[in-house]
């Protein structure tokens, strides 16, 4: 394992809260690790669980799904469905030998730029501590 291990994180961010939150982190110039690659989706409910599995198959070290806080979904219900889908996928992947800590579901509102950077920071840290995925 190389000395500086840089985990690769794929982030599916809902356009209305989390993506805006990530933008706010930018406008307020809060630095966070450059390990995340953000894919913009209209709603966290757009995320097909297979996207997540696919990302892991390709070699992602971590996948972040972020949406509006429960009750705040721009589409009123989206994140509740996401919660159920990811909620079931997570223990299943763990069961199949993929540490559930590698799949994160977070609620980040458009006003939580700081929180977004903290999420990315802590997630990156966790992944670094865990080291590369055993293959």
């Amino acid at each position: 394992m190389e000395l500086t291990y840089e985990p690769r994180i794929v982030g599916f961010l809902c356009n209305w809260c989390s993506y805006a939150g990530a933008d706010l982190a930018g406008t307020s110039r809060t630095n966070y690790p450059a390990n995340i690659r953000i894919i913009r989706v209209p709603c966290s409910g757009r995320v097909d669980p297979l996207f997540i599995v696919k990302a892991f198959q390709l070699g992602a070290d971590g996948v972040l799904v972020a949406g509006c806080h429960p009750g705040d979904c721009h589409y009123s219900d989206g994140n509740y469905h996401t919660r159920r889908r990811v909620g079931l996928l997570r223990p299943f992947l763990d069961y199949l030998g993929l540490d559930k800590a590698r799949l994160r579901l977070e609620w980040v509102s458009a006003s939580e730029g700081k929180r977004f950077s903290e999420v990315v920071l802590s997630f990156t840290d966790t992944l670094i501590k865990m080291g590369p995925r055993s293959s």
Binding site: P49, L50, V53, K54, Q57, P70, G71, D77, Y80, H81, R83, R84, R85, V86, G87, L88, L89, R90, P91, F92, L93, D94, Y95, L96, G97, L98, D99, K100, L105, S134
Partner: protein, 283 residues
């Protein structure tokens, strides 16, 4: 018992000339069973029912959508019918369900019938069909609680062990898709695995692609698998597919308090939600 099945089927077919009775007959090896489709009442004598009748016949109902069909089902198979009705695939009125109280099926290997029951039957909870028009046999009490010792064994392993275990299992997959063809839940026009653009799963049989295929298959059956165990039975390389399915069954019971196919009305977990629920397991 078999007489009741034959008579009921006969009665029904006489009333519905255009109908078809799907049941079991003795296979050519003279000991195992195989599905039979009967169109004339006088052929009813062919029907048999014993612990070799492993097949889940309700799958065939999908090919007979819109026609009148009678089917012989075991409890697990009957849940499949509920599933299909819930998913708007079947019209309850066009089906005549001959539900049989299940004694538990036996494994059969190369013309030899093992004397111990199938693993799925050892762990079976429901011995009386969940839905039927006529019930054959005395209703049996449910087994009190799930036996997830098999799942627990895997859960007990370390992450690395689990990873290795499943890599080995899925690694053997030859992508014959028998599990899919036999599965009552797999009735898509075109399976995501067959789609080329977008390419969800690479077409070659390599560890990575086998991995995503098997996960995709199992997850599409989450909170839908009625544990008839057919996928595992037909798998030519003996991948313990039910071991994966049952984990999802267990989780969806814990998280959503839902057991598939017990009735045709209850909305499945992914069709609904509870605002207040936290799914702590999401952590």
């Amino acid at each position: 018992m078999i007489e009741i099945i034959r008579n009921k089927a006969k009665e029904w077919l006489e009333k519905n000339e255009d109908g078809c009775v799907i049941g079991y007959e003795r296979a050519s090896d003279g000991m195992t069973a195989r599905p039979v489709f009967i169109y004339e009442p006088h052929m009813m004598g062919k029907l048999i029912f014993d612990e070799t009748c492993v097949h889940n016949l309700s799958k065939y109902l999908l090919n007979r959508r819109g026609t009148r069909t009678a089917v012989v089902v075991k409890p697990c198979d009957s849940r499949g019918i509920n599933l299909l009705i819930n998913e708007h695939q079947l019209d309850r009125d066009s089906i005549y369900i001959i539900g049989v109280v299940c004694p538990g099926m036996k494994e059969s290997h190369f013309g030899r019938i093992e004397d111990h029951p199938l693993s799925k039957c050892r762990r079976c909870l429901h011995h009386t069909p969940a839905v039927y028009d006529v019930l054959v046999g005395e209703p049996q009490p449910e087994t009190a609680s799930h036996d997830y010792s098999d799942v627990a064994r895997i859960e007990g392993m370390s992450l690395q062990e689990r990873n290795a275990f499943w890599k080995e299992q899925f690694g053997r997959c030859i992508r014959c898709y028998g599990c899919r063809q036999i599965c009552i839940g797999c009735y898509c026009q075109e399976c995501f695995v067959d789609e080329l653009d977008p390419l969800w799963v690479g077409i070659r049989s390599c560890p990575e692609d086998n991995w995503i295929w098997n996960i995709g298959r199992a997850f599409h059956l989450s909170a839908r698998c009625i544990s008839c165990g057919e996928c595992e039975r037909v798998c030519p390389v003996g991948i313990p597919l039910m071991l994966a399915n049952r984990k999802l069954e267990k989780e969806s019971a814990d998280l959503f308090d839902f057991e598939p196919g017990m009735d045709a009305a209850t909305a499945p977990p992914f069709a609904t939600f509870i605002k207040e629920e936290t799914l702590e397991k999401v952590e």
